[in-house]
């Protein structure tokens, strides 16, 4: 009985069936192109973790343009009219105290900051007098990632990467559609399938000395895409 109720409510959320459930891949109409294409403004995932290579640093990842096939990855580009902004709140009020602003121009990426924004909120200008890290955008064909480092020790990378997100999206959609009542067991008899296996994203990665993030013990982080 309980299952039945739950099952019914899952069908109830099938109203969003045209939108694929994923991390944040094509999460809204404004960032979804014709044929459910993830646009350059579509943020698919955000990560924030202590650097595996240096405990004194934090790493921030903004992934965009999800579900790229290898052939699509070879020609994918970061739109030059779009600012990718990593927002950092270190006072606990969920308003950004610092931003890292990433822009791509003529095959180069720059990461400005972390620096106080000109103004918080949904409209941004680039704090162009802030120190920045710069690197060439790594091409799909490149065998190794191109990394730029600022005078302040901030590292930047931009280019195609394997999508680190994993999820049995197909099975979830079947549950939503009411043609399945549970996930696959992940066994040889009942295998689960990662819908993001073999797909790429356009990634922006920065590594920042923790000393540049203020003295708080924890921060709140979110990413934004902004266009002009």
């Amino acid at each position: 009985m309980k299952k039945k109720i739950l099952f019914g409510t899952l069908i109830g959320i099938a109203a969003v069936g045209s939108i694929i459930f994923a991390a944040d891949h094509i999460d809204a109409p404004a960032v979804t192109g014709t044929g459910n294409v993830s646009l350059g403004t579509d943020i698919t995932d955000v990560y924030a973790f202590q650097s595996p290579a240096d405990n004194n640093n934090m790493v921030f990842v903004i992934n965009t343009q999800g579900l790229l096939s290898p052939s699509a990855s070879a020609t994918a580009k970061f739109p030059e009219n779009t600012l990718y902004e990593l927002n950092i709140d270190n006072t606990g009020d969920n308003v950004e105290d610092m931003v890292i602003q990433l822009l791509v121009r003529n095959g180069k990426v720059r990461a400005y900051g972390p620096v106080a924004p000109a103004a918080p909120g949904t409209g941004s200008i680039v704090v162009a007098n802030a120190p920045y890290a710069e690197a060439s955008v790594t091409s799909y064909a490149s065998g190794s990632p191109v990394v730029g480092t600022s005078t302040k020790g901030v590292k930047v990378f931009a280019g195609p990467r394997d999508d680190p997100f994993f999820f049995d999206l197909k099975r979830f959609k079947e549950i939503i559609a009411g043609t399945a009542t549970k996930f696959h067991d992940g066994t040889a008899e009942d295998p689960a399938t990662d819908a993001f296996a073999g797909t790429n994203v356009m990634s922006l990665v920065v590594e920042v000395p923790k000393s540049m993030l203020g003295s708080a013990s924890s921060i709140n982080v979110w990413a934004e895409s902004k266009s002009k």
Binding site: L10, V31, Y47, L68, N94, P164, G186, W222, E224
Partner: protein, 181 residues
Amino acid sequence: MLRINNKISFSFLITAALFMASCKKDHGNNNGGDSFDTSGVFTQQDQMGRPAINTVFVGADRKNEFNMTTPSAMSAAFKADFLAKLSAFGYTQNALGQNADAFGGLLVTDVLNAKLSGKTTFFDGTNVLTGRDLADDVIDTELLLIFGGSTGASNPGLTSDHINSNDKAFLTTFPYLASPF
């Protein structure tokens, strides 16, 4: 009506101020002989903190709006929607001991919490919401918290998708994400 007018003039003022500041900044930049174009006012298109929040908890008619709402304003604008969705899921309490109001109140402000010392993970069995690592199985964590009930044992068929890791090994050096397929 008054409220609408206030809103329009307020946003106009912000745009005008940003534009003026932008012109000023450009000037400084050009003087430096730097051809990297940083000009203009950039307007929000998408935003994200925790995985799958907008996709799961916000109705189709408000998804664009959620992406345009600053995190500090999300709770006032969307908390009722989140509580309604949790109720539709049959939610009463999760393994963290949070009732619907507490859990919905946490999720609705879509920011990723990250500690600046120690382990950074979405959930590793011990640490909860101290960051998000590449290898974190965030979908299982969210399924467990939404469907697993107060012990995590409820609805066992819905609390894991049984995809537990990425299809490619991560790098030990920057930028850590694996090369593309």
